[in-house]
Amino acid sequence: MNKTLKILLPAILLAGYLFVIHRPLAGLPPAAKFFDPLRGFLQPAAGFSSTPSHEMANAALKGSVKILLDRRGVPHVFAERAEDLPFAVGYLHARERLFQMELIVRSVKGRLAEVVGEAALPSDRFFLQNGFRDAAERAMQVADRAHPAYLALEKYTAGVNSFIAQLTPADYPLEFKLLNFAPSRWELHNSSYLLKYMARQLAWHSSELAFDRLRRAFAPKVLQELFPVEETCPAPIYPGLFREVPMAFRSPAPLWGNVIRQNIWQQNPPARGGDYARLESYFDDRNAADSPLLGSNNWAVGAAKSASGFSILASDPHLSHNLPNYWYEVDLHAPGVDVYGMTLPASPDVILGFNNDMAWGPTNCGWDVLDYYKIDLDSTGQWANIEGQKEQLQISAEEIPVKGKAPEEIKIRWSRIGPVVNRDNVDYAMRWTGHISGGEWRVFYDVNRAKNFSDFSSALKNYGTPAQNFVYIDRQGNVGMYSAGLMPIKTAALALGHSDANDPAQAWPGSPRADQMITDIWPEGFVPFEKLPHAFNPPEGFVESANQKPTPDHYPIFYNWNFEAPYRGMRINELLSADHKISLDDMKAAQLDVHSVVARLLTPVILEAFASSNGASSTITAALDSLRAWNFNFRAQLVAPAIYHTFYEMFKEGIWAKHFQAADGKTFMYPPRRVLLALVAEQPQSKWFDDPKTPPVENLQNRVREIFATSVSSLRDQYGKDMSAWQYGRYHQLQAAHPLRLPNWGFGPAPRDGEDFTLNVAGGKDVTHGPSQRLVVEMGNPIRAFIVNFGGQSGHPGSPHYQDQLDEWLAGKYFEVRFAARPEDLPKEEIEETITLKP
């Protein structure tokens, strides 16, 4: 071999080999980096601490901060100066949830595809073209920079960045290594992205286009019967509202007249037609009326209703089950601030929890705060015809970077109404409170420091979207509830109908541009904060909310047609109205309650349908016996819930599918579940129980018999003849996914108690949403609190605290909270790690 070849051959082979293994291949990270045992997949992220005590210095700190992490990974933070608390929270969030935070920010900024690839392009387009990023950034541009909450955000930002700055690539969480990118520097407005992200989760909901299809196909009378706009809620959140709100509130101006108890079905459809495409694809029409809005429970009893004489609060927000979960638990102390509860990574304050004086927790309001308007764009796409006037749109062209591909160019259009989107060659402008609200960043700073109901409600004045029902208790034994957020004043037609901007009948007065943080995008503006539904020490002695309609009849504002069915609210009322006084244990038991008031209504109907029957098969007879012996509790190990639940799902589909199938094969939106149950209870001979495709005229009883037999057969086919094997938990199972949807990085499937209507909510077959945490607080002396998080504190898969609370969560157990005023008050044996942050 000649000399040159002797050197060239290994040199080329080595260079080629090094080149190949340092390159990402087919979406995989470079092998040289990933399989390096010192820096790659085997190197734990910086959040996996193995040292019991460590220190860090940062010039942004004014005093020292001591952080004691307990056995669950909950940080007990003691700062010499209150202004340093947000720094510590930012540091901790970054340490435990860096990838989660990065994903949220990238989602709202439309930069997911940059690191994930083109699969994330639809998400990036959605967030950018629907104005989330712009709205989040505008909110911070106009923020009052002198407000201490703004300074807290600056400190929080410094805290996050101080953690990121100390990382080497070897310290990155595993997800960064898999996707082969580095954490981004944290920006102050990232916290605003989080708020818009949550607003999208909780307040981005509209049935308008589904309604529009219905309106074209069905007579107004039918729609009036099955989609009632105004109805009496049996258990509104504020049953006594009109005892407290002055009459003047009901009709303060003629302009409010047209929103009082209107019936949209008597109105003309929009003048300009068109086959309106749905703008959202995450649910189909048939379920739109009962779409998976993320619900929640909260309730509280005042001193007079409490067994201990102290007011007690329960709060369990229902969110999608993810690992890591949204919540990060903290215990924060500094001069003037002592607060405990759940934070959202990307934001420094406690969102739900308690301080020395009061406790609070939210549920989702479910107001309709998203409306679509059809507009005409000219051929250039730069001008819109609105109200007969040409308006130049604000258009920005942007590139979305895509991993492994050329960037995609998109245009983002804003009209004075809101963002402009196009679907199936129809252009719409949308109005959403999330685009115009911007004060949320300061709300929880003030709430964390509130001492009484007056402070608390003052803090909520800046709250916009997603509107929430905030429950409240304090040390004085008081109890209250405030539904806070932007509630647009609008007609039912605007709320439900897809509105045409060029139709004079639906014209609205000129409004300022959406980018000026206006409050009058809706023609009549918003309900003043003081007039929003609220209650303080109501005569019942307790307050509760479970996403149901907040107000009783005669409320003057139309704010949605379709709230969550009232059954969870009814159950809370049932439990809290009991003769005996309520204890902490009662509150916990209620959060874990799996008794269904709907099953209690429907099961006798099933039994009654077979009461006079002879010749039912032995399987059906056994199934009926099982139901007869059932106490309507949805336990995973029981058979009766499986029999009932399978029937109920088939019943719902069986009744409506026959009537709501369009000629083109598409399914219309079904009536809400509460309507079907009302028909069952009150109109067993209703024509809706008839199958129009068969000659005989069926009634409720006929259909129940037929569908029950089918559902029992289905269970037998699936699980065999032995009925003891038909346990509910065989198919009703909890699933929690990691954001990257990687197999085995989530949790489940695991048998799960509960159903849609139980307080311990667990809808569907694959249970993917439910209580995201459970908190019960008694404002005594000392304060007693119990909590359990879904998952754990850490966002790092493989960390001991990634899902260490899941077993307790599933088993209905709680951890007693250590709300320690001083580090010395914490039992030493419970402390796993100490971090000291110094200036």
Binding site: L14, Y17, L18, F35, L42, Q43, S799
Partner: protein, 116 residues
């Protein structure tokens, strides 16, 4: 004795190279090892073996120490490896190191031979 010195030097360079610069460091250390071994074949086998053993031992030690065990399982689950199959990842890591060190050793040995 000369052999033992060569092995010790190889271990020293490769451990240092790997710790400081990862795979590229292993390759660089392999070149030095090959140079001292004065043989391309010996350089390839010596540097490759030491690099593979070094990374294999580090991988096994990290997993056995506890904190990296779940990380191994999670990564293995992506490839649908179960149980003992997860250790194939450590083996793969060692193989990667073997080739980097070995090719470096080959090049270093060749350079020395050509110089001589």
């Amino acid at each position: 004795m000369r052999n033992a010195q060569q092995w010790l030097l190889a271990i020293l360079f490769i451990v240092l190279g790997g710790m400081l610069f990862g795979v590229a460091g292993l390759a660089l250390a392999g070149i030095i090892t090959g140079w001292f071994s004065n043989s391309r074949k010996r350089g390839f086998s010596m540097a490759g073996l030491v690099a593979a053993v070094f990374w294999g031992v580090v991988g096994v030690a990290k997993v056995l120490s506890g904190q990296s065990q779940p990380l191994l399982s999670l990564t293995a689950s992506l490839l649908k490896f179960t149980g003992l199959q997860a250790w194939l990842l450590i083996l793969g890591s060692a193989l990667l190191a073997f080739l980097a060190g070995g090719l470096g050793g080959w090049l270093g040995g060749s350079l020395r031979q050509v110089k001589n």
